[in-house]
């Protein structure tokens, strides 16, 4: 694999992301909403102005859970399927580049674009808060949230790539991506709660089930970073901390790593073995 070729392909993806109006809109929405959430975090207490880092991080968790998976899933879903539908993928494959380089370049380019967008959103919010004297409490929580969000975006990007490798049309891929987003966001909590109630699932099994949803893992990990406990997540949260203690962070990290690596690997395997260009 030639790294220079991967970088050339990645640069093209970043260029395309800058020209993608949906990507720009997502970024603007994220910046705007994160500023708004920060402002409103203290509004309920009757205090106007930008909240401190710690309180804002807690508010931003829900924002991240909604927007970041949507952004990463749809961008990942378009990556290969969009080029195939347009006919440019076959032409690219006919050049002296390998499928691994193409996959790697596209993944790297979209990854860097996503991270740049998130950095911009978090960075502007953070800067505005700092300038408004909101740094008194816990900027570390904010930085940790940024890091957790990066990981979440990578998990969803990998899932998006898997969808893209399995489909030939961008519209179908995006549709599947949206369905998965709904599943992760809305059914994750409801599904777990409903299952727990209906089937009287033991606490330990409920916790394991929650690990199957990367959004749940992100939420638990982010809450743990801010609160240092998971009490607000109920019995499953209490169980998790009691069972794993300090290792819990590493459990979350390992699960997120699996959610990044496994879908991406499957996506590459599928792309490398396709026979229908």
């Amino acid at each position: 694999m030639r790294l220079k070729t991967v970088w050339t392909l990645a640069q093209k993806e970043m260029r395309d992301a800058l020209h993608n109006r949906w990507f720009v809109l997502y970024t603007l929405a994220f910046v705007g909403l994160s500023l708004a959430f920060s402002y409103m975090a203290l509004a309920g207490a009757g205090i106007a102005g930008f909240a401190g880092f710690g309180r804002t991080a807690a508010s931003l968790i829900n924002l991240v859970l909604l927007i970041v998976p949507l952004m990463a899933l749809t961008i990942g879903a378009q990556s290969l399927a969009g080029e195939q539908e347009h006919g440019t993928l076959a032409y690219l494959l006919a050049q002296p580049v390998t499928r691994l380089e193409i996959f790697g370049g596209k993944y790297l380019g979209l990854l860097l674009s996503l991270l740049a967008s998130l950095t911009l959103g978090f960075g502007i919010s953070g800067l505005v808060m700092a300038l408004n004297g909101g740094g008194a409490s816990n900027p570390t929580a904010y930085v940790r949230l940024v890091w957790q969000t990066f990981l979440l975006s990578l998990t969803m990007l990998s899932v998006g790539f898997l969808i893209s490798a399995l489909t030939k049309r961008a519209g179908v891929a995006i549709g599947i991506g949206l369905f998965l987003w709904l599943t992760f966001v809305f059914l994750g909590d409801l599904g777990l709660m409903g299952t727990a109630i209906a089937m009287r699932v033991p606490i330990d099994e409920l916790f394991l089930l929650s690990l199957s949803n990367p959004l749940q893992v992100f939420k638990m990990s982010a809450v743990l970073d801010i609160n240092r406990t998971l009490d607000i997540l109920g019995p499953a949260g209490i169980y998790a901390l009691q069972e794993f203690g300090r290792a819990l962070r590493y459990v979350f990290l390992a699960v997120m790593a699996l959610w990044i690596i496994v879908p991406a690997t499957l996506a590459y395997w599928r792309f490398a073995n396709r026979n229908d260009f």
């Binding site: 050339t8 006919g87 440019t88 076959a90 032409y91 494959l93 050049q95 580049v97 026979n275």
Partner: protein, 289 residues
């Protein structure tokens, strides 16, 4: 040199290419001719590594499957359908592919000038006409000066004027000594480019011949319409039928079936009988049984 050895490609139960073996010598131009579904484009796709196949394909001693990148590095590819990045500038896209192909930095501008796109460097690719896009495809294919050119019906989507321009450029590519393999439905492409023609049907080679032999081998015939003075029509019909032509009346003229490459003969026959042909139109070339 390109060699195809027992190439077979199956899509489910359907054999698109069936145990095909042939080679293309250095500096030779070989055309794959045949109807839709004959397997011509499938052969090209296998050569470019877009499809998995049985058998072996080598390009200048590089195995197209096991050494795909090296094999494709020997090839400049001109596709039939122009699928490019429409939102990129012409020069911008050419520079992008030049980096992928590790071509010299000066290649993009030089080649775009060579194909007549020197004044359209900043134009978006999507704004180029069909003929311009195909010339752009040729420029991209020539990046890095590959020894082999692979083309899939290079002029099929073009109007007559654009086709002539591109054929002129392709003739120059051939004159430069490139090894060429291309698929074609068009007589002009064969006549301009091909040294040898492989006539394919149902995934196999029916026969091989030179470009000059192809019309005769396929039993090609042409139809020409001759406009004649009304008072000469009946006499002309009689003379042409006596001369062995298959002819029928059509309005103020006649339609004559002639052998390919012999379209002027009925005009000469009528002229010898003092019948003036006031106008003529070449209607079509027809492939024989």
């Amino acid at each position: 040199m390109i060699t195809f050895s027992h190439l077979t490609k199956q899509f489910g139960a359907y054999k698109a290419v069936d145990d095909l073996s042939f080679s293309v010598e250095p500096h030779e131009a070989v055309a794959l001719w045949g109807p839709n579904g004959a397997g011509k484009t499938t052969v090209i796709k296998c050569l470019l590594g877009l499809l998995q196949y049985k058998g072996q394909i080598t390009v200048n001693d590089f195995d197209a499957h096991r050494q795909g990148r090296a094999a494709r590095g020997q090839i400049g590819y001109v596709p039939q359908a122009q699928s490019f990045y429409d939102d990129m500038g012409t020069l911008e896209m050419t520079q992008y592919f030049a980096r992928l192909k590790r071509a010299p930095a000066g290649d993009p501008r030089r080649l775009l000038d060579q194909v007549g796109l020197g004044e359209h460097l900043q134009k978006k690719v999507g704004a180029l006409s069909g003929g311009m896009k195909q010339r752009l495809a040729l420029a991209l294919a020539l990046l890095g000066d590959p020894p082999v050119m692979v083309m899939d019906e290079p002029t099929s989507n073009l109007d007559a004027g654009a086709r002539d321009q591109l054929l002129h450029l392709l003739a120059a590519v051939k004159a430069a000594g490139k090894t060429i393999i291309f698929t074609s439905h068009r007589v002009e492409e064969i006549e301009t480019l091909a040294d040898r023609v492989l006539v394919m049907e149902r995934g196999q080679v029916r026969f091989t011949c030179s470009a000059a032999e192809l019309p005769g081998k396929l039993g090609w015939r042409s139809q020409v319409k001759l406009r004649l003075p009304a008072e000469s029509l009946d006499r002309a019909l009689g003379i042409l039928r006596a001369g062995g032509f298959d002819v029928r009346r059509n309005g103020v003229g006649v339609i004559v079936d002639v052998a390919h490459g012999d379209k002027a003969r009925p005009i000469h026959v009528l002229s010898a009988a003092d019948i003036q042909v006031t106008d003529f139109v070449h209607l079509t070339d027809v492939e024989g049984e």
